[in-house]
């Protein structure tokens, strides 16, 4: 598909963005939990045109063995883009960008997982970007956190993530692909909501220290909103499971 052209303006005279959002507005988010059969836990997120699958395997035997740690589980993480997820086909071999993001996503989730309960094992976390639209690392963290919960991995809290950016001199929440490309800064943040700990923080572009402070505040609020959606998605899933179990029990009673 030919790459979309640069829009003339990123913010219109009413203060709305190219997709009609306000500056402080998230893109529509759709979350689903437990959608894969083989994985121990899984989740799916759509955020704008991002379409991302996350899956968890483990705790399982560490492989290769020498990576095992005596006092905790090792977390392995892979952020990976499908070849068709971006405008220009991406080679399936991992790029340097994907290797860096695998690391920072892992480090954004390490603080909440009770790894000390599973020494010498490993927990594998796969984030597959089926379609990418700006902010995929944050959406990936949001989904990965749900996949960990779905796998029953004990966690202190659910991590939520969201980016804030700067376009045409103004701070704007949750940049889309075009806004990221033609904007002036991008600040992806992951938050452990209750303990108010920032576990992902990257930035590129140009922000004054005061813009950074305001932007960080916006990101934290957005993470809290996303956290609520995550809890809803989990509740819905458990509710469904409960219903299935009850149905089954009923039918068993009948049988």
């Amino acid at each position: 598909m030919p790459e979309p052209k640069q829009p003339e303006k990123l913010i219109d005279e009413k203060g709305l963005r190219i997709d009609g959002r306000r500056l402080d507005q998230l893109r529509p988010i759709k979350l689903e939990v437990g959608i894969l059969d083989k994985a121990d836990g899984s989740a799916y997120i759509e955020q704008g045109k991002n379409k991302i699958l996350a899956a968890v395997y483990g705790p399982r035997e560490a492989h290769p063995k020498h990576i095992a740690l005596p006092e905790r589980a090792v977390i392995r993480c892979r952020y990976h883009m499908a070849p068709f997820s971006v405008d220009e086909r991406k080679s399936p071999a991992p790029s340097r960008r994907e290797m860096e993001l695998s690391k920072v996503i892992r480090e954004s989730l390490e603080p909440v997982v009770l790894t000390e309960l599973y020494p010498r094992t490993m927990i594998d976390l796969f984030v597959e970007i089926l379609q990418s639209d700006g902010g995929s690392r944050c959406a990936g963290i949001t989904a990965a956190s749900l996949a960990l919960a779905d796998a029953g991995i004990p966690m202190r809290e659910i991590v939520a993530a969201c980016a804030v950016g700067k376009i045409e001199g103004k701070l704007a929440l949750d940049l889309s692909d075009a806004e990221d490309k033609y904007g002036e800064a991008d600040l992806p943040v992951a938050l452990v909501p209750n303990s108010s700990m920032i576990t992902l923080l990257q930035m590129d572009g140009s922000l004054t220290p005061s813009e950074f402070e305001r932007g960080l505040g916006m990101a934290v609020e957005a993470c809290k909103a996303i956290h609520s959606m995550q809890r809803e998605a989990l509740k819905k899933k458990y509710h469904e499971i409960k219903e299935v179990v009850e149905e089954k029990e009923e039918s068993e009673v009948i049988a």
Partner: protein, 272 residues
Amino acid sequence: MSHTPQLPPVAKLEQKTIVDMISRGKRIDERSPESYRPIQIQVGLIEKANGSAQVHLGKSKILVGVKVQTGEPFPDTPDEGVLTVNVELVPLASPSFEPGPPSEQAIELARVVDRGIRESKAIDVKSLVIQKGKKVQVVYVDVYVLDHDGNLIDASAMASLAALVNAKVSKMELKGDEVVAKPGHHSLPVNNYPIAVTFAKVDKTILVDPSLEEEQVMSARLTVTIDKNGSICAMQKGGLSGFSVEELKKAVGLAVQKAAENRAKVLAVAKG
């Protein structure tokens, strides 16, 4: 090097149960030996691809994206575009898939799907030439396996065909030195509709569309790809044992019938 694979440790007892059932003409999911699992097909999920399709075959899930880009022809076929099928056994699909370069299993899968498309002349590669010997369209068919519950070949082949039929591309032309897109979008020229039908031999029974549990107890595997005229365009035997001539003949006959059924399902969705 290719080596005898290690199968995942399925309890012996469970394996015996599955084989015993099949010997008695039954399958653990209650299908008949000649039945497919339910097939669900969706197209157009990936807007950034030229074409895309998702196939659910029972619990197996495959996503295929087709990208068409400008590139160079192979030196020995200057008057043909390029078609390339790549398979990723994404590690979230199975505990037995590892990240890294394509395994032997992924390569065989890609090549069997590729042969079906190529040998049935589903894509007219001559029509992909922009400038002979210099510039052609390259059709990338990327098969992404998302959940592996057996018979990845048939599901991948169906998803690939559906994604190709779904694809919209620009016509490219040469203006001076540069390749530019003509206005408008067209379908890819898809001239044939190959459908792969895979069999597993368990004990003395031939099953169609094996599930993962059945693949783990099969002695041999056979894929027969049938084109829209009912001709065979590709075959592939796999596994540690073999087939008799009679078994092969019977399988080919059944493949012709099953392919027609599945082709209708794919085209109903993909041609929309």
